[in-house]
């Protein structure tokens, strides 16, 4: 490819809502971001901030009975996804955009062998013969370094360990050479040594295949070690976005700073045995998404908040070198470093 082909995925002012007995949940409340070809973008934030709903919106997997994309645009290779029919989406999913989830058992069919499942995906999307599909399944299991891949083709998901199932999910997700892989907490349920294996595998395969990865996680360590750019979400909104080094070097949003101060660290020099420095607490709780949020969503918990923060929503501004932040008081925050 020559020239500047532009981002593979463009999300603009996405709003996704659910109708519940308690009212309308504004799960995603005006989120925009791009995914460049071949990059690894991290989306990070605490439970309920809208990470999974963002992913489900891109894949158009929001349950239609209660939820809907109420406004905004999602473009994949320049093509608008929000208006595609379910048939057209089916042709994209698992083919050009694919996904892996936290719990592979929810997306693997328990009554089909893993070989059959991967082969089916390949046959359906690429229109190859069943035999070629099986062969592709074998290659993929081998690629994700499942030992004895030939034999594993004929095993059922329950016969595999958690780490192996996640490898199978990755094999299936990559089986049709997607341009974008959306991975929602892919290692959260795994042990640390297995998590390290899977993260390394994802990065290695990304470099080999050029697939862009959107990695969704609540774990700042996983973000730091695997992504190139990061979007930080809070209460359905994007509050900060930066290249990964810049984000960890100088987080600019008070919420991001709070998160980083709240995690116990392994990498800082150990204190004299016995002393236990206090962790920084973020006071209060996340807002309830059924109630309208006026001004900055973080204001009730923010030490920098002013009256303006409580009445006007802060716009995202570029603080330099692609570091975006939505905070009225960013200059004060910076000086308070």
């Amino acid at each position: 490819m020559n020239g500047n082909p532009g981002p593979i995925l463009e999300v603009r002012d996405l709003h996704t809502q659910f109708s519940t007995l308690d009212g309308v949940v504004r799960a995603v409340d005006g989120v925009s971001f791009d995914v460049a070809r071949g990059e690894t973008l991290g989306i990070v934030g605490e439970s309920g901030c809208g990470k999974s709903v963002t992913a489900m919106s891109i894949l158009r997997l929001i349950p239609p009975e209660t939820g809907r994309i109420s406004s905004g645009s999602i473009k994949f290779e320049g093509e608008e996804l929000t208006t595609l029919s379910e048939e057209e989406m089916k042709r994209l999913r698992g083919h050009r955009i694919s996904m892996i989830f936290q719990e592979p058992m929810t997306s693997l069919n328990p009554v089909l062998t893993v070989g059959t499942q991967i082969a089916e995906n390949v046959v359906r999307h690429l229109g190859v013969s069943w035999k070629a599909g099986r062969e592709r399944a074998f290659e993929m299991l081998d690629l994700v370094r499942i030992a004895d891949a030939r034999r594993r083709l004929d095993e059922y998901p329950h016969q595999l360990s958690g780490g192996m199932r996640q490898r199978v999910m990755i094999a299936m997700a990559l089986s049709c050479d997607p341009q974008v892989l959306i991975a929602d907490e892919p290692t959260t349920a795994l042990d640390v040594t297995i998590q390290a294996q899977i993260l390394d595998l994802m990065i290695e395969l990304k470099e080999k295949t050029g697939t862009a990865i959107v990695l969704i996680t609540h774990d700042l360590g996983v973000v730091a070690e695997t992504t190139e750019r990061v979007v930080v979400m809070y209460a359905g909104r994007k509050v900060e976005q930066a290249p990964v080094e810049a984000l960890f070097e100088e987080p600019l949003h008070p919420y991001t700073r709070g998160l980083m101060g709240a995690i116990p660290r392994l990498d800082v020099e150990a204190d004299a045995a016995g002393t236990r420095p206090r962790l920084q607490e973020i006071p209060g709780l996340v807002p309830i998404l059924t109630q309208p949020i006026i001004g900055c969503a973080f204001a009730p918990r923010c030490g920098f908040a002013t009256d303006r923060c409580r009445s006007e929503r802060p716009p995202l501004v570029d603080a330099g070198a692609g570091h975006l932040v939505a905070c009225w008081e960013v200059d004060r925050v910076r000086r308070a470093a």
Binding site: E46, S47, S161, G163, M164, D191, V192, T193, I194, Q195, A196, Q197, L199, D200, H218, D219, L220, G221, V222, V223, A224, E225, T226, V244, E245, F248, G258, L259, M260, G261, A262, I263, P264, R265, L266, D267, A270, D271, A272, A273, G274, R276, R278, L279, Q280, E281, I282, L285
Partner: protein
């Protein structure tokens, strides 16, 4: 910290029978805990860390005598409680309390939270009626909840607040030891920080001993004084936290530390020694050293000989054939 241990565990074994075949005869056993020895002093946190299924929760349950050990000895505040039947155990129950990962599942949804927290006070005959309500109100304040919240039901609290309820309940009977099994694993980091800070404050105030179970090394390093690393039912390394993180001696500890992620992009790709393969099943642990199937440094002897947990340096216990008492603490060579 005084030196007499409030909790001692010696050679603890817990096997769960596996039944199979038409007659559901016992065909094997899950060796969940396979000979574990440790002690905890007043005011001390001993961390138990290790991957899923290595036996951490089982140790917690046996120590609480919620399940009976297959072998071994449990000494609580100087008294051997191993053989005590539930009735006789009752009077000791006050001394050892527990905090769970998910306090919600153990709370009656139809009772107000104040009643739930005050339950042990009633059960142990410590306080009733208005006196109990007073004590519960104090407990609520101590863990950072408003006493007015005593009227609310468990489902009306957030995850972090429920964990505070669980802590208040455990605290109510003034125990010596608290077994905390993944108490912050289900919480968001901002709330996790609040709960960890609270647990440390309470420990310093009341001299509580914690048996703190977690799979999160960073949390472990934050809260513990000493840490025991487990692998397939056994402790493979036990030492003070500073030594564990700066001079780990067991190959499995080294593997765990290098697999852990850190919130620092500059550190990426520094992970050199990622162990390959899965954890074997505790129903069929490998012979010899349980870790030999994944160990970079395994020798032929490791496949046949069980490494005992030895004090290789003062206060530093390691179960590895290649780490003898007084041996060179430098890196091992790959055979």
């Amino acid at each position: 910290m005084t030196d007499a241990p409030v909790l001692q565990v010696e050679g603890l074994v817990k096997h769960f029978p596996i039944h199979g075949g038409l007659l559901q005869r016992q065909v094997g056993a899950v060796r969940a805990v396979d000979g574990v020895t440790f002690s905890i002093r007043r005011g001390e946190t001993l961390g138990l860390v290790g991957e899923s299924g290595c036996g951490k929760s089982t140790i917690g349950k046996v120590v609480l005598k919620l399940i009976e050990p297959t072998a071994g000895k449990i000494v609580l505040a100087g008294e051997d409680v191993t053989a005590l039947k539930p009735g006789a155990m009752w009077t000791h129950r006050r001394r050892i309390q527990t905090i769970f990962q998910d306090p919600y599942s153990s709370m009656n949804p139809r009772l107000p939270s104040g009643t739930i927290v005050g339950e042990p006070l009633e059960n142990f005959g410590i306080a009733r009626g208005a006196a109990r309500d007073d004590q519960v109100a104090q407990l609520f304040r101590r863990v950072g909840l408003r006493p007015e919240a005593m009227r609310k039901y468990a489902h009306e609290f957030s995850g972090g607040q429920r964990q505070r309820l669980g802590i208040a309940k455990a605290l109510s009977v003034n125990p010596d030891v608290i077994v905390a099994d993944e108490p912050v694993s289900a919480l968001d980091v901002s709330v996790q920080a609040q709960v960890l800070n609270l647990l440390i404050d309470l420990q310093e105030e009341y001299g509580l001993a914690y048996l703190f179970i977690s799979h999160d090394l960073a949390v472990m390093r934050h809260i513990s004084h000493r840490i025991a690393v487990m692998y397939l039912g056994r402790i493979v390394e036990l030492t003070d936290k500073r030594t564990l993180f700066t001079q780990p001696l067991h190959p499995y500890t080294e593997a765990l530390l290098s697999a852990a992620t850190a919130p620092d992009p500059k550190r990426r790709r520094q992970r050199k020694k990622i162990v390959q393969g899965d954890v074997p099943s505790p129903a069929k642990p490998p012979p010899g050293c349980h870790f030999h199937t994944r160990c970079l440094y395994a020798t032929a002897e490791c496949r046949v000989t069980d490494p005992p947990l030895l004090e290789v340096a003062p206060g530093h216990h390691v179960a590895c054939l290649r780490r003898p008492v007084g041996g060179d603490p430098g890196p091992l060579s790959v055979p």
